[in-house]
């Protein structure tokens, strides 16, 4: 099958999933009374004072399918309801909090992937030697560490015992004021990038100082998975004929490992990037909560604790759509990376 028709078929498969996702989310909202559900439709704080009008307007006393239709048409026009926690519409709140989370992800994701691949390769190339055992223990430990416990212990050491060396939150107060003043242009709302664009070294250093602990927390916990996957994938690759051939040609071990074995071993790592995305989203909620890093994760936590149902469900819907799209892109990329993958045919 041709690539184009594969992409089309794959896109078509996304439709029923997204339909199911919206039905499921809407089903959860039906657990609530029409009065409680009103915030799902409102885009303005003033409207919240006239709930009977909202119930009337969106037919909240109508049958399920009518309500679902009304709700879907609101969602499709970008109205996810009102977030009481953020004091703005849910859709705006997502974009308001996203840059903070992106800042974390920009640093953590490459670290997770590169360190995971590096240590995974090393462990496989020296199987049953100290580095293999060391990384195995480190991976199991990292995998077992509750994100919140690691974060709290890091804070205890680097903020408490070392007298405020690496503080929580995003910026120190003077820098926060500077960033929001007229002399600092916020191009992206991602502090490190804005600091570079403004050529402001002090803001950059301060932002980095606040980023170290959350990034380390995210990396340590999530890296373990990539590391173990890379190790087993490398072990398989090292046992293959082409590695034997490369060795027989007299290539140095370094070239054999880094070029011949590793390139082929990377394919499974690419296929799990969808999983990695979900893992980072999950990790971000806890990390941002602990470090008072006010991104989407922090907002989702606040919303869940304060039972702001419109925000929680809006965020869940947003993530599901994003996750489905990430998996779509990964699947399509996969066919480009690994020419052995034949499109179509029967599913195994």
């Amino acid at each position: 099958m041709e690539l184009r028709s594969y992409i089309i078929r794959r896109l078509l498969l996304v439709v029923p999933v997204l339909f199911g996702v919206t039905i499921f989310i809407f089903g959860i909202t039906m657990l609530f009374s029409p009065i409680e559900r009103a915030s799902l439709y409102v885009t303005d704080a003033r409207m919240m004072t006239n709930i009977p009008a909202i119930i009337e307007m969106y037919g909240l006393d109508q049958p399920f399918y009518v309500q679902y239709g009304n709700w879907m048409s609101e969602v499709l026009s970008g109205n996810l309801g009102w977030s009481t926690v953020a004091g703005m519409p849910v859709w705006d709140a997502i974009w308001h909090f996203l840059p903070t989370t992106l800042e974390l992800a920009i640093f953590a994701t490459p670290l997770i992937i590169l360190l995971g691949i590096f240590f995974g390769t090393k462990a496989a190339a020296r199987k049953d030697r100290p580095i293999d055992h060391g990384t195995r223990v480190a991976a199991i430990l990292g995998w077992s560490l509750p994100t919140f416990f690691l974060g709290l212990v890091l804070l205890m050491i680097f903020y408490g015992a070392l007298r405020g060396l690496l503080p929580p939150s995003r910026l120190s107060i003077p820098m926060e004021l500077l960033v929001n003043s007229a002399e600092f242009t916020r191009y992206t709302h991602i502090n490190t990038i804005d600091a570079i664009l403004n050529l402001n070294g002090r803001v950059l250093l301060d932002a980095l100082r606040h980023l170290i602990l959350p990034v380390v927390t995210l990396t340590v916990v999530q890296m373990a998975f990539i590391m173990r996957l890379m190790r087993s994938s490398m072990l398989e690759s090292l046992g293959r004929g082409y590695v034997l051939t490369a060795r027989a040609k007299g290539l140095s071990e370094r070239v054999v490992v880094n070029k011949h074995a590793r390139r082929n071993a990377l394919i499974p790592v690419i296929t799990v990037s969808g999983y990695l995305f979900a893992a980072i989203v999950n990790g971000v909620v806890i990390t941002e909560t602990i470090f008072n890093f006010k991104g989407v994760g922090w907002w989702a936590w606040q919303s869940a604790v304060r039972l702001d149902i419109a925000s929680v469900l809006g965020f869940a819907l947003f993530n599901a759509v994003l996750f489905v799209l990430v998996n779509l892109v990964v699947d399509i990329l996969y066919t480009r990376v690994d020419p052995r993958v034949r499109l179509g045919g029967t599913m195994q």
Partner: protein
Amino acid sequence: MSDWKFMLRQLAKNPLSLAGLIILFIFVILAIFAPLIAPAPEGHTDPYRIPRDGYSAEPQPPDEEHIFGTTEGQYDIFYGVIWGTRSAFNVGLVVIGSVLVIGIVLGSLAGYFGGAIDEVIMRITDIFLAFPALILAMAIVAALGPSLRSVMIALITVSWPSYARLIRGDILQVREEDYIEASRGVGASNFRVIMRHALPNAIYPTLVMASLDIGAVVLAAAALSFLGLGPPEGYADWGQLTSFARTWIVGPSQAPLKYWYAVTIPGLFILFFVLGWNLLGDAFRDILDPRLARR
């Protein structure tokens, strides 16, 4: 069963999995003997509620009466972590048990009958797998109202689809085997074929791996409860005990580590519990993966 003997021998040979077994054994002992190790005070009706010694906020360091100290609100940490072991096994066993039942029923229906049934069940799993797990769990708990029951329902909802898929795959592998054909040929009912022939030959590895997921389930439950979405305040639960310590991470300036016990002790209990399961799980993965076993 020589398979099981082989597995046990492999486990005992590996120091890491042996450590895992020992850790879990200790936790089982703690859970079983919780009423003896940390007896509830007189007149205490619900043993899962941690007794408190006063109402002042500041945690108190370990002393003879409270050997692990007290956390915010004067809840006894020792009592909390010991009974928390029982809560952890409760959550883990209930969630994994329910998920396995759902997974086995739906997975074998999908794998054995194929066709439209398979298609419908698999599309439903797609929907649940479309969410990052913690986000969906948070939404469900927030919708049902925070409680231990909501946490369990949320964790069952987010984890059954992967098991249904695994078991479906297991069944698919044996569906065309001769012995299945044979038993169908002599007129066995579908139910009998699935229960007596397909499942027993297909799902042992999945069952073993699933039971080792108890650690991951407990970790997720602790995270939810740490976020304030778990059982009510004062319930013996490791995640909640850790969250009590959140405002006491940094002590006064002359003694920054003054409240170390409030964070560290409940955290270490979670860490070791999950570690025990994962150490065992890692060894099993190597044993069950024939590609790696040969090397």
